[in-house]
């Protein structure tokens, strides 16, 4: 089996299990690349945060991930791609996103993963806040995220 698999989950992500499942789906590919994003313990200024809060849309968020993964598949001739993203309250140190790509050769798999994550970081339909106590600070993509995204235009 192959193709696109995108999910938003409220429960903890198990990257090892996700990779195991993806390797089964990617059977026959010559290269598989994966990425796990982990919630940082500090904000951009070094301040300690208690958690990240991710607000997702019930009908737009998964299609936004699927659209990005489908574009990656078309651009890099992937045989399979997956994005699993957390919603809700995510503790520091916990996985927030798992992404994987499979292609005939390693270069396409690695480049596609880089492309896919640059787009997820700037375009996926999430609203993200840093939580300190009961205070939330809503955050936008950084200039560096937008610059990373612009590399692919």
């Amino acid at each position: 089996m192959s193709g696109i698999d995108t999910r938003v989950v409220a429960e903890p992500i198990d990257p090892a299990q996700e990779l195991h499942t993806f390797l089964d789906r990617a059977a026959g590919a010559g290269g598989v690349a994966s990425f796990t994003g982990v919630t940082r313990t500090t904000d951009a200024d070094g301040g300690i945060i208690d958690a990240l809060v991710l607000d997702a849309h019930p009908t737009l968020t998964v299609p936004s991930l699927a659209s990005i993964a489908t574009a990656a598949q078309a651009r890099f001739a992937l045989s399979a791609a997956t994005v699993v993203h957390r919603s809700g309250v995510v503790a520091p140190g916990a996985p927030i996103v798992f992404a994987a790509t499979a292609a005939p050769h390693r270069r396409e798999a690695i480049d596609a993963l880089d492309y896919l994550m640059d787009r997820v970081k700037t375009e996926a339909v999430f609203w993200k806040a840093e939580l300190r106590g009961t205070t939330r600070r809503w955050i936008a993509p950084r200039d560096a995220d937008r610059a990373d995204r612009a590399r692919w235009e």
């Binding site: 994003g37 991710l54 607000d55 849309h57 009908t59 737009l60 991930l65 993203h85 927030i96 996103v97 997820v120 970081k121 700037t122 375009e123 996926a124 339909v125 999430f126 609203w127 993200k128 806040a129 939330r136 809503w138 955050i139 936008a140 993509p141 995220d145």
Partner: protein
């Protein structure tokens, strides 16, 4: 005038929760103005040009008309994943 239950996301939902019920004429700008009046704390964010309206699951222009019973949502700029 119609009653609208409006869904809010991100910082728009922070002040008073993700749903607002307002009475307004059947256009997006009228509903947006009614929510802004009911929730002054988010009025600036709600009326920002970057805050998009979504009606019955699809993005619509800022001045779109509404049909009675439409599901209206306001979405601030996304954070990305």
């Amino acid at each position: 005038m119609h009653e609208w239950t409006v869904q809010l996301y991100g910082e728009l939902a922070d002040a008073s929760g993700p749903q607002a019920t307002v009475h307004a004429r059947a256009t997006v700008p009228d509903v947006r103005a009614a929510v802004a009046a009911a929730r002054p704390a988010i009025a600036d964010a709600l009326t920002a040009p970057t805050t998009r309206a979504c009606v019955d699951g699809a993005f619509v222009p800022h001045d779109a008309p509404l049909a009675p019973g439409s599901v209206v949502e306001f979405l601030p700029v996304v954070s990305g994943g």
